[in-house]
Amino acid sequence: MPENEEYKEVGKSEFRSYCIALCLSKKAVLRLMFATDERETDNCFKIYAVFSEQGTDIFHIPFFKLREDDLTFRSITDGIPAAHWYEREIMDMFGLVPKYHPDPRRLVFHDSFPADSHPLRKDWEISEKDLKEWGEGMVRKVPYDFLEVEGEGVYEIPVGPVHAGIIEPGHFRISAVGETILYLETRMFYTHKGIEKHFEGMSFHEGVKLAERVSGTSTFSHSTAYCMAVERMAGITITEKAKAIRTFLLELERLYNHIGDIGFLCAGTGLTVGNATGSKIKERLLRLNDRLTKSRFLRGINTIGGVTKDIFLHADDISLTIDTVAKEYKGLMKLLLGSVSHIERLENAGILSKNRALKLGVTGIAAKASGIDDDIRSSHPHLIYNKIFEPATFTRQEGDVFARMMARAEETKCSMHMIKTIIEGQHEGDLQVKADDIPPNSHALGYTETPRGSVFYWVKSDGEGRPLRVKLRSPSFCNWPSVPFAIQGNIVPDLPLCNKSFNLSYSGCNM
């Protein structure tokens, strides 16, 4: 068992007070909360909550057992608001009902999914008829109540699930008067792919491929986190070289995402040249990816026990490209910060207050822009981050779109710096170590920082050493609930801009 995970079983009735005490006394942050169906081995469901303590590299993981005679538990959401989506997800997927949850509507399933059907239970089945009706989506079995703003003159704009641009599906229900957004409600999970269920049917080695495909823009982060979890279960320590390559590619992924995002913000403000320049630099980096790994999105590199390619063979190409990118990026930032009209749009738009961000457990860029120093690279150092990562002043206090852009810019600078350091350093060792069979009944966390925030994998193997449960939590899952708070009170045309500044993934959320 990895040394920074502290598991503790608590009674079902004490769970809530235990968690709240953890939050209060140790300033712990809820990172992850999930259930497992362990009825075959322990004859119970278990619900885990992962907290990370501030200032130390320790995860507190309290859990409790739920017997089949009473499948309800006391919700912790009223004490720890960050738990609200996790609990609703557990309710949908396992049929374990959080009592006194302030918002007990469905989360993952849409109206046409049958009631009392819980896919992540091991014995889940669905009838042909239900499957058909679910697919067509015409029959409303469990209607979803949107929160309505009462009053004369309020109108609702339904945006999505089909959007005008090439983006994934999500439904936004805007209640507005004139241009002012009174309230926004989001409805996600249009493309729920049942990834966690899929993981259970695969071997651990095959799982890497699936993890790579959870979210297109952070494939490498996901696969790294997954590999890390499995390696920790198996007790494998990978070589320095593999660590360096993983770190390098993680930062490369961050780089192309951040620059692309910064450029893409310009599409929201209508600054054509900025948008095009951003895409151009991103494309340059994607081509570098392709040359390094034969995949534009860095797929096929990670494997359990290490990496498959030695990208340091291309060191010259890398430093050349990065230099060009650094130059172009500097030009881009000069253009953006010099454009008064652009900055005017960004400032004071979509403010997410620190208080709310903390309560909702927001992670990544959004957290940093709201004044929370949340970076798993520094708080739980992994790979070679403890050697090269200097947590610079990423955090900004404003919490607006501009702050999010600047947080990205800071990280970009830092990533470039780290990439250079890694390239210049010496890294010894083989590419991979031999990964033996995974020990049965073991479990571990894997985590890393994607461009959007922290991603977590929690993997558990069953008695035969096959996956029993793979829980993954992408940063988008934590951050989507905060978007409506940032957007309320803004004007309608700023909604896409605010949304873009978070740049959350739909797919990464709809696991």
């Binding site: 608001p81 609200h84 302030p102 918002d103 109206d111 989506g137 015409m138 409303r140 929160l147 309505e148 703003v149 009462e150 009053g151 004369e152 003159g153 309020v154 109108y155 609702e156 704009i157 339904p158 945006v159 999505g160 699930p161 089909v162 959007h163 599906p169 439904h171 507005a176 008067v177 004139g178 241009e179 002012t180 009174l182 309230y183 207050s353 208080n355 709310r356 309560k359 909702l360 708070f485 309320q488 009170g489």
Partner: protein, 661 residues
Amino acid sequence: MYLIVFQLLFVLTFGIFILSKRHMSYFGLFIQLGLAGITSYWSVDVLIHGTVFERELLISFWGNPLEIKVDSLSAFFILVLNFTLLTGTMYSAGYLKPYINEKNRAEFGLHYFSLVWLHISMLLVCMLRDGLAFLVVWELMAVSSFFLVIFESEKEETVKAGIYYLLEMHVGLVLIMAGFIYAFVQTGAVFSFDGLTVYFARFHPFPLFLLFFMGFGIKAGFIPFHTWLPHAHPAAPSHISGIMSSVMIKMGIYGILRVLTYIHTDLLAIGIFILIISAISGLLGVMYAIMQHDLKKLLAYHSIENIGIIGIGIGIGLIGVAKDIPVLAALGFTGGILHVLNHSLFKSLLFYSAGSIYMRTHTRHIEHLGGLIKRMPVTALLFLLGAMAICGLPPFNGFISEFLIYFGLFKGLRTADFQTDLTILGAIICLALIGGLAIFCFTKVFSIVFLGTARSRLSENVKEIRGGMIFPKILAGIMIVTIGIFPLYFVKAAGKVAGLYVEDIPLIIQNAPPLSNVSRASLVFILLTAFLWFLRRMQQKRVQIEHGPTWGCGYSGADPAVHQYTATSFAENYRELASPILKVDKHFELLKEEEIFPRPRSFKTETGDMLEENLIEKPIRRIIYWMEKAAMFQTGNLQHYIMYAFLFAGLIFLLTIFKLI
């Protein structure tokens, strides 16, 4: 002969009371047709030949024979009011049908009797010159319209609005009376309009004019004397609102124009004064209108706006006369006066349409309406016609009058001096803004009421109204289009009136404004539209036409009624700009910091008339406050009263000693 018939018709009006409820409207219409026929005949004659028609009535007034006098000014107004009153009565037959069972015969009779007498009193207002007689018919107009307003007297609000209206009308009457009396006392000339000539020739005309302006301005609804309009118009039945808004408030304009015929000095100050008041009325009228969600109240505010446009025309006309810029003077007056006619046409059309909507849906609140164009297509298209006309868009009549005013303004720029140029520029800006705001307002009204889907149960399953109520609207519509495309004769008629103030009118009207070109351009526009429409039809025959739901981003569970734009929203953006002038309270709380799981929320706005609040209601509260204070002296104790008497006597004594009185 005609004169006798004319007066005989007065007597005949009492016949209304002996008829059954169903026949009253026809009889009223019959009498009005007679009245209108005779007076129109006189008026047309006057306008064509440029003569003045004078006759003595059979009735005498305190021994003085009553004389009626129709000059071009009277003639123009008579024609305008005849048309609208006839359409109004025609419309009333259908509109009042649902009330036949509710109201008794006396109430119905009183309504039609008042209607006919409103017609008569307005005709006489335009024809009588004697001061006392004028005041009597002026009062008659107020009283008869009061009875018309309170038709639905079972509603408390209606009666309140009616009494409020009557009160304001009396304030106006007192001011006008004071004007006459003052002039009479100062000069000793005849107690009539003609007597004013002497006064204005001898004294500084501005103060007395101000008195008359205020008196007539209350009727006309210039801001800040507009407060009765938004109350009385929604309260009255729709044909009455139409008549009041279209022609009755114009009697105020008539009064002002009449008084102006006697003034020949100090015109610059008067002109600038009228211009400023009118510009304010025009702008504020339409600005308030945008915020209204009560259809008839909104139209009432638009009347204020249009009075403003008329006033702008008259104001710059006066400035033109004073500064000796003939083209400015001629076109200002002509445009303003033509707008009197134009406004009466489209405003009556709009009010009649609003009435039809009210009749079918029982609501005037536009947020409850929607999608009516599919159920009431004729009403919708006629309303659209009126809306486009009131926005001053070509090829409709509103454009012609505004075009004339613009023409005068732009033509006058060069010859005017520095200050006048700036004034002209101000007028141009105001007109342009008023036009733009009117478009803003009427796109809102038309879209919310007629387009999209029904916003509430009230506007579902309604039926189109029938012929009797459509016909008067079509008449008005035809007039609107005719004036819009072939304006020349109407402009000439208005020019005749303007001739009372400016010389050389025919020359300017004949030569300067490119009216035939305007009609040509309008025709080109219409033909091109028709051609394109034809082309479109041809193209559509060849290709596949499909029908589906409005694009809703692929969300199938949408409720179209909730997702369409609302009137409040339409006005919301603009509200921010106008916030210093408008008083709008908005009630909505954003989520609090602690509120992660939102409670149900609500939104509410309240709009008030800030001018009314500050000019009328606050002073009244003040007065009541002081009166209550003053009531302290009224102790009911005899000794105290004796003491007051002594104090008073003492005061007088002291004042006499110091030769102060």
